[in-house]
């Protein structure tokens, strides 16, 4: 799979995948809302980046999408995580913890 030099993008992917894994299929707005509320508004998603990320992940086979009726009876595109997305999530989560752990150790040393 392509290496992503952009760390933030990696974080975005991770947040999206994690959201979908825990909450089941959601539309883009729902994902954004969830991330904001769970992070206590610390992580405010740049909404313009959300959709390119979703489409990219769909092409990579990590999420799949379909058009459904939303809670307020409007047509909306819902995204759900796939098996390969779950594996990707596991990978990235592990990576993330590794990096975070490493960084905090570095911070503790100084």
């Amino acid at each position: 799979m392509p290496k992503k030099p952009d760390n933030l993008q990696g974080a975005l992917d991770l947040l999206i995948l994690k959201t979908l894994a825990s909450r089941g299929p959601l539309h883009g707005y729902g994902i954004a809302l969830h991330v904001e509320s769970v992070s206590g508004d610390v992580l405010r998603m740049e909404e313009g980046s959300l959709y390119p990320a979703l489409h990219r992940m769909e092409l990579a086979g990590w999420v799949r999408s379909n058009w459904r009726t939303s809670e307020n009876n409007r047509r909306a595109k819902f995204y759900g995580i796939t098996a390969s997305g779950s594996r990707q999530l596991a990978d990235e989560e592990r990576n993330w913890r590794l990096v975070v752990g490493a960084i905090s150790r570095v911070l503790q040393v100084t």
Binding site: H27, Y29, G48, H55, L59, A83, S84, R87
Partner: protein
């Protein structure tokens, strides 16, 4: 998968609409949330939009993501493929070489076939062109110059008919006829060239524009206009060195002087693919160019049909209406020519997009055969490369299993394999495309000079497309086996097998052995076909001629076309013969109107005097000079041969062969009998003064038939003579002498076709020689590929069973027993393959039966020899690894285990 992505990439319109809707939904939801927080609807909306950022930018980024992901995955596959190919260079080179040769061979055969049979004429809108033809089983009493096929179709019409047809409102109609071996005088140098007689509107109807100068206009086709000539681009380059000064130059053709007015465009060759017209002259000059027709002007007589037509319907005219209108005119004009109730002629139109390519129908069968053979070679090469890839796939099985276990899609792996084999095939195809040009040129050059085909083998989109299609097909075929192996593999067994010495051998041998058996079968089929062609050629070469061609040099003159009268021609012939006799090393000189076994025939019916008038059996004729039979060593059975007594004014005499005596004289004493020949209007009687042994006449393939030899001085066709000189020593050195002697005596007569008799006979076998040369080459390549395949499989099996062999040897098995074991094992591949190949050969070779000479497709010698050769080569291929197995050191083998 690729296709979906590709479609997604190009379905951007729909994608945009979807995205817009997605985005609108998001912004609406956000705005509603703000409204709930107490903002006014307008403020809520503004804030939501600001929060979302630029929709345009987002849209761009989604697009980029889609496109880039797609490109990225293609790039990845290609990169991985390249890396794998580079990792095993020997395998890659072997695969590319064998696939490239096979793809190139296939493309090369196609390129020649395309040029001869498929490619449209290089003219404007060739698809509109139509060619009038007619059909008859009992032809009206007319003379025909031009072609007709085995189905009794002809494309020749009388000039009067053409002029009548041309008045039809719905069509533009032009006429064309080839003028072979015309004698040309350009700037003082005599030579021969192949030209064409064309009507003045020919180039206009076809929509051809000049490269230099001008082409004909309607007015050129009139005896009242100055004689004009148009050169082909090729001839202009060859003879005039592309000199623009050629325009306005004088050029003599068969004694008539023409002024060069222009040069046809480079790709334009005339009307029949494979034949190249060097120049074009207006059809009205036919009588001046072909003096033998002067007695009845070919422009006015309705009994002589010689002009082939090509037409372009005018806008609005349908082919059906055109056929009806021309057909009615044809029927009216042919009616007076029908003298017997059975005679008839029906009119038809055929599409003319490829000119007179249909006249190349004789080439269809050899091309089908060659194409089939080369495709078989390609299949063998494909299965060989598939085998190589399988072998490597086995080594990579663990990696594949790992990737599968880690969740890579099976399809994705198959795709990777296919990408790799497609890459391999496309690289081979590119190389093959270059090879194809060379190969096609080599194929053409196999035909000797006179029957040579002239084809422009330059770049053609059709050939490139064919090459690409074959390469892709080969790539898929090659990728199939590893893909099947992959789809069969289970992760667990592969991973487990990964711990033993040779991973995944089961998969490899599961497909590898049948693949080798297929190769064996196909190469046996190829060997049998090649063997049949080789033997057939051998039979033709060994067929008794009835005369001795050794040490004989032939060359031809054409004084008639050079403007000589009959008397002048006879004098010139005798002068040349007398002078040639004085050359050193020349022991005898004679001549005939044309040479025996040169595809030229002169047939008529004869009536033996004293037999019923209704009995008019067919007979071959040949006019010969004195000493003809002696020089060619045709044994005299009775009577005498011609000599100085048999001059123009002497009583007319003939020599007949034994077939003539047996078939037409019914065992009566031949000498002194007479027969009549309808040579012109009135029958002419000839007295038989000699009988000679049978010889072949025009073609080697035909059985001996009745021949009557006439004295050249008493009766000859308006052509020739062809001289035959018996020489001692090297005949090749004589050609300069011949040219010099003739040039001294007859400066305006070009010497044509200096050849030994053996060379001329070989020319007649050019198709057979091409087929046997090419099929043998294909057979050898196939056999080598199959041998390599077999070697690979056996060597692999031996390597895999090293431990087992070690155990056997350690337990006291003899080395001979191990050798036998391995050989027997390979026999299990070879024997079934050979059996299938034999069955295929017996079924398939019936299709080549009509081309064979002197043997059946089930010829036991060929079959036994092919099988023996196959087994011998297979034996060697298996013996090498078998010996290695027998040479295993048991201790080391067991230690490895």
């Amino acid at each position: 998968m690729w296709i979906q992505r590709l479609l997604a990439t190009f379905r951007l319109g729909r994608l945009d609409r979807d995205l817009d809707e997605e985005m609108r939904f998001h912004i609406d939801m956000r705005a509603q949330a703000y409204e709930r927080e107490g903002l006014s609807p307008a403020d809520a909306r503004r804030k939501a939009l600001r929060r979302f950022g630029s929709p345009l930018l987002m849209r761009e980024r989604v697009r980029d993501a889609r496109l880039l992901t797609w490109l990225e995955s293609v790039r990845q596959d290609l990169w991985l493929g390249l890396r794998l190919l580079r990792r095993s260079p020997a395998l890659t080179v072997a695969a590319i070489l064998s696939l490239g040769l096979a793809i190139g061979g296939t493309t090369g055969v196609f390129a020649v076939g395309d040029g001869l049979l498929i490619r449209p004429l290089p003219v404007q809108r060739p698809e509109e062109l139509v060619v009038p033809q007619w059909h008859s089983t009992e032809w009206p009493k007319i003379g025909i110059w031009g072609s007709n096929d085995d189905d009794n179709n002809s494309w020749s019409f009388s000039y009067a008919m053409y002029e009548q047809f041309a008045k039809t409102p719905g069509v533009d109609l032009a006429g064309f006829q080839e003028l072979n071996s015309a004698i040309t005088l350009i700037r003082g140098g005599a030579g021969t060239a192949d030209g064409s007689l064309v009507t003045g509107n020919f180039f206009r109807v076809l929509g051809v524009t000049p490269a230099v100068g001008r082409l004909f206009v309607d007015g050129d086709n009139s005896l009242a206009s100055p004689p004009t000539i148009v050169l082909s681009h090729r001839f202009w380059q060859k003879v005039f060195g592309s000199d623009p000064g050629a325009i306005g130059a004088a050029m003599r053709v068969n004694g008539q002087t023409f002024t060069v007015v222009g040069v046809a465009p480079k790709p334009f060759f005339g009307m029949q693919p494979g034949r190249w017209s060097d120049f074009y002259v207006p059809a009205c000059w036919i009588a001046k160019l072909m003096p033998e027709f002067v007695k009845e002007s070919p422009l006015t007589t309705d009994h002589f049909w010689w002009l082939q037509l090509v037409g372009r319907p005018k806008p609005g005219a349908t082919t059906a209406a055109l056929k009806a209108s021309l057909g009615a005119q044809f029927a009216a004009m042919v009616k007076p020519l029908i003298t017997e109730p059975k005679q008839h002629a029906t009119f038809g139109l055929r599409t003319g997009d490829r000119g007179f390519a249909f006249q190349n129908a004789d080439s269809v069968k050899p091309f089908t055969i060659l194409m089939t053979l080369v495709v078989l070679v390609l299949l063998i090469a494909c299965s060989n490369v598939a085998n190589l890839l399988l072998a490597r796939g086995a080594a990579r099985r663990k990696e594949a299993a790992m990737r599968l276990a880690l969740g890579a899609g099976r399809l994705r792996l198959v795709r990777q394999h296919l990408t790799e084999s497609l890459m391999l095939a496309l690289i081979s195809g590119a190389g093959g495309f270059l090879f194809a040009r060379w190969f096609a040129a080599a194929m053409l050059s196999l035909a000797p000079e006179r029957s040579a085909l002239v084809l422009d083998l330059g770049f053609s989109w059709r050939v490139l497309a064919f090459n690409l299609a074959v390469a892709v097909g080969a790539g898929l075929l090659v990728g199939l086996a590893p893909a099947i192996a992959l789809s069969r593999s289970s992760i667990a067994t592969a991973l487990r097998a990964g711990t033993t010495v040779r991973p995944g051998w089961r998969q490899r041998l599961g497909l590898g052995r049948p693949l080798v058996a297929v190769q064996i079968a196909l190469s046996l089929l190829l060997l049998v076909v090649a063997g049949l062609f080789v033997r057939s050629l051998g039979n033709l070469q060994a067929v008794p001629l009835g005369f001795n061609p050794d040490g004989i040099v032939l060359f031809s003159l054409d004084p008639t076309s050079g403007g000589y009268s009959d008397a002048q021609k006879a004098q010139a012939t005798e002068r040349v013969a007398a002078r040639l006799t004085r050359l050193p090393n020349v022991t005898a000189v004679t001549w005939s109107t044309f040479a025996l076994v040169d595809n030229i025939s002169w047939n008529t019916t004869v009536r033996v005097v004293g037999q019923p008038a209704a009995k008019r059996p067919p007979c071959n004729l040949l006019s010969v000079g004195p000493g003809f039979h002696r020089t060619l060593q045709v044994p005299l059975v009775a009577g005498r041969t011609f000599d100085a007594r048999d001059g123009a004014t002497a009583p007319r005499v003939a020599i007949v062969n034994q077939s003539f005596v047996a078939k037409y004289l019914g065992g009566t004493r031949p000498l002194g009998q007479s027969f009549t020949v309808e040579l012109e209007r009135d029958p002419v009687a000839f007295e038989i003064v000699g009988v000679v042994r049978d010889t072949k006449y025009a073609r080697l393939r035909r059985p001996e038939s009745p021949i009557a030899f006439l004295s050249d001085a008493q009766h000859a066709l308006p052509m020739g003579p062809t001289f035959a000189m018996k020489v001692t020593g090297d005949p090749g050195r004589l050609s300069a002498d011949i040219t010099r002697v003739v040039h001294e005596l007859e400066p305006t007569l070009p010497v044509t076709r200096i050849r030994t008799y053996r060379e001329q006979i070989a020319q007649q076998l050019s198709m057979e020689r091409s087929l046997s040369t090419l099929s043998s080459a294909f057979g050898v390549v196939a056999l080598l590929l199959a041998a390599v395949g077999l070697y690979g499989v056996v060597a692999f099996a031996v390597a895999r069973r090293t431990g087992e062999m070690g155990v056997r040897l350690a337990l006291g098995a003899s080395r001979g027993a191990v050798l036998r074991l391995v050989l027997l094992d390979s026999a299990k591949v070879v024997v079934p393959g050979a059996c299938v190949g034999m069955a295929a050969a017996l079924a398939a070779t019936r299709f080549v039966e009509s081309i064979l000479f002197g043997l059946k497709p089930t010829d036991p010698v060929t079959i036994v020899a092919s099988v023996a050769l196959l087994l011998a080569v297979a034996g060697v291929a298996a013996y090498v690894p078998a010996r290695r197995a027998a040479g295993i050191n048991p201790v080391e083998a067991l230690r490895c285990e």
